[in-house]
Assembly symmetry: C2
């Protein structure tokens, strides 16, 4: 066990917790959160010791009509400031920029004029060159950057190593292992994480992990990859996120032993703000159809459709997935 | 990683899967399953490749009135045979006998006259002498036996080692690590499992694992302890079991690579029999109050009560748990 970093009782000073509720959870309700919800979540995160809060995407307004989405798909500076003011807290603000779906050359202010601290660049392995270009741009503007390489469970080890190699020569600060389809088990998640950690450490960078809960492994994979040296940990309140959702923040803060993290305030937020969301019919979280797409290492879109139609014919869905091969 | 046993793609011939739906799930509905449910589950388990099906408890009729419970709290031979006949299948039949709550000297037939194959003796560490006496009795009657040592997260390593030492000298076949409160993380579950596996292997015995899902780790802990050499794996359909429930059978059979295990039939059973159970109001599964008792390493009874009252004041419950210290 000696390659594990830290102990179950100790504090790891390198750990940073990122709340992705609005960004990944926004995929469940078209970013239709009330200002009160976002404002209370912001205050809750600050009180809970969360290190970063991701407010949403910086999506291209040429590709997406602002009228069709809630404001957190675009994260305009004014909208952010309406919630956080000058963000006079120790918690940092992050946004996500998707390769190919972001006008990154025009839509970002220099860091000195923005309340945003970090830009997270999400891409597939084949978009790595484009991702690096964006990272260099955001770095030159003064932002912290991450690269979140998605869907790595469907690409070869060689492609992953090439991507890590390219990132190691870039200005990126944090390299994220992303289990997009919730198909990784602790054992292979940790093997991958060790590669990310190794390349990151050799190049003065840091590794992160973003889980999905298709096989009910989001929390387990998060704390297990953490034990092998991953430092940046994504989570969301009650795991709110696309499809089966993410690692639950309340589980993660319960687990972490640094006294700066506090689970109590999250419980109040869940009572007052998450339960009403579920009652309104916003859907996410572990269920049989997501388990099946995770098991078969597929994009969750068919399971999201199945769930949105309130279908329960799981055995037919099983056949449907395999027939679409 | 070399101490891991097997690979993610290979078959482990030592693996045995135990369905505990009726026994642990019976704690959610007072064992009030219909005969149709139990019969269909039996057929489903056989078709799915499950190795053992646990039908319930052999509870003392002196201590518990048969009128107050469903029949699977007692597992009378006639009731078992009404479902399984002579059980002319490759799946074995198990029942549980609790130390101190079972008239074991009078209530068991010799194996040659019973359809039961295995008796699982459940006990706390301080009941180990009584457990060994029962194990020797069941062994002399011709049954396979297990010892399920409960609540080990609340006792010292020395006590666990003493218990393992006593069992190693007994006739017991399988020694179960039981995470009664769902408080173990993969890292410490695997450390404990390695002790169990080591003692078991040195004495010609086998190790098993029984999970609870309080912190959404039941499946993760099951496959992780398995990777460190545990062979007998408990699971239940949709994780049905007391409080936060157990490892979900559909996740486990999806994970296992032996082609004898088949998840498809479980999906049909879930559609036809588990969804109606949930609609009737039978409650189990991961939720915030169980997370808190797991996090604080407590018996789930207060969380079960909280949930049964449909309370949602999680933050008050948090304070309540800590005040009861």
């Amino acid at each position: 066990m000696s390659i594990r970093k830290g102990t179950l009782l100790g504090v790891r000073d390198d750990i940073r917790v990122m709340d992705v509720t609005i960004r990944d959870g926004g995929l469940c309700n078209n970013f239709g959160f009330t200002d009160e919800f976002v404002s209370e979540l912001y205050k809750t995160n600050v009180k809970s010791g969360v290190d970063y809060m991701e407010f949403g995407y910086k999506a291209s307004k040429n590709m997406f009509n602002e009228k069709d989405y809630g404001k957190w798909k675009f994260c305009n500076e004014d909208d952010l400031r309406a919630i956080v003011g000058d963000n006079d807290t120790s918690m940092k603000i992050a946004v996500m920029a998707d390769v190919g779906r972001c006008d990154y050359k025009t839509d970002f202010l220099p860091k000195s004029e923005s309340v945003i601290d970090m830009v997270r660049v999400a891409c597939y392995v084949h978009q790595m060159s484009a991702a690096v270009e964006m990272i260099e741009h955001f770095n030159s503007l003064g932002y912290e950057t991450t690269c979140n390489i998605m869907a790595v469970s469907q690409v070869s080890s060689e492609q992953i190593l090439q991507a890590l190699e390219m990132l190691s020569k870039s200005s990126v600060d944090v390299i994220y292992l992303v289990d997009s389809f919730g198909s990784l088990y602790p054992e292979n998640a940790c093997e991958l994480a060790q590669k990310y950690v190794e390349v990151a450490a050799q190049n003065g960078k840091i590794a992160g992990f973003h889980a999905h809960n298709n096989q009910n492994l989001a929390f387990a994979n998060t704390i297990e990859t953490m034990s092998y040296g991953v430092s940046y940990l994504d989570a969301s309140i009650q795991g709110m996120g696309r499809g089966a959702g993410n690692c639950a923040m309340e589980l993660l803060l319960g687990f972490l032993k640094n006294p700066k993290y506090n689970v109590y305030n999250l419980l109040e937020f869940i009572e007052k703000h998450m339960l009403p969301l579920k009652e309104q019919g916003v859907k996410w979280g572990y269920d049989v159809p997501y388990m099946l797409t995770g098991l078969f290492n597929r994009h969750p879109r068919s399971a999201i459709e199945f769930t949105s139609e309130n279908r329960k014919d799981y055995s037919d869905f099983y056949k449907q997935i395999l027939e679409n091969d």
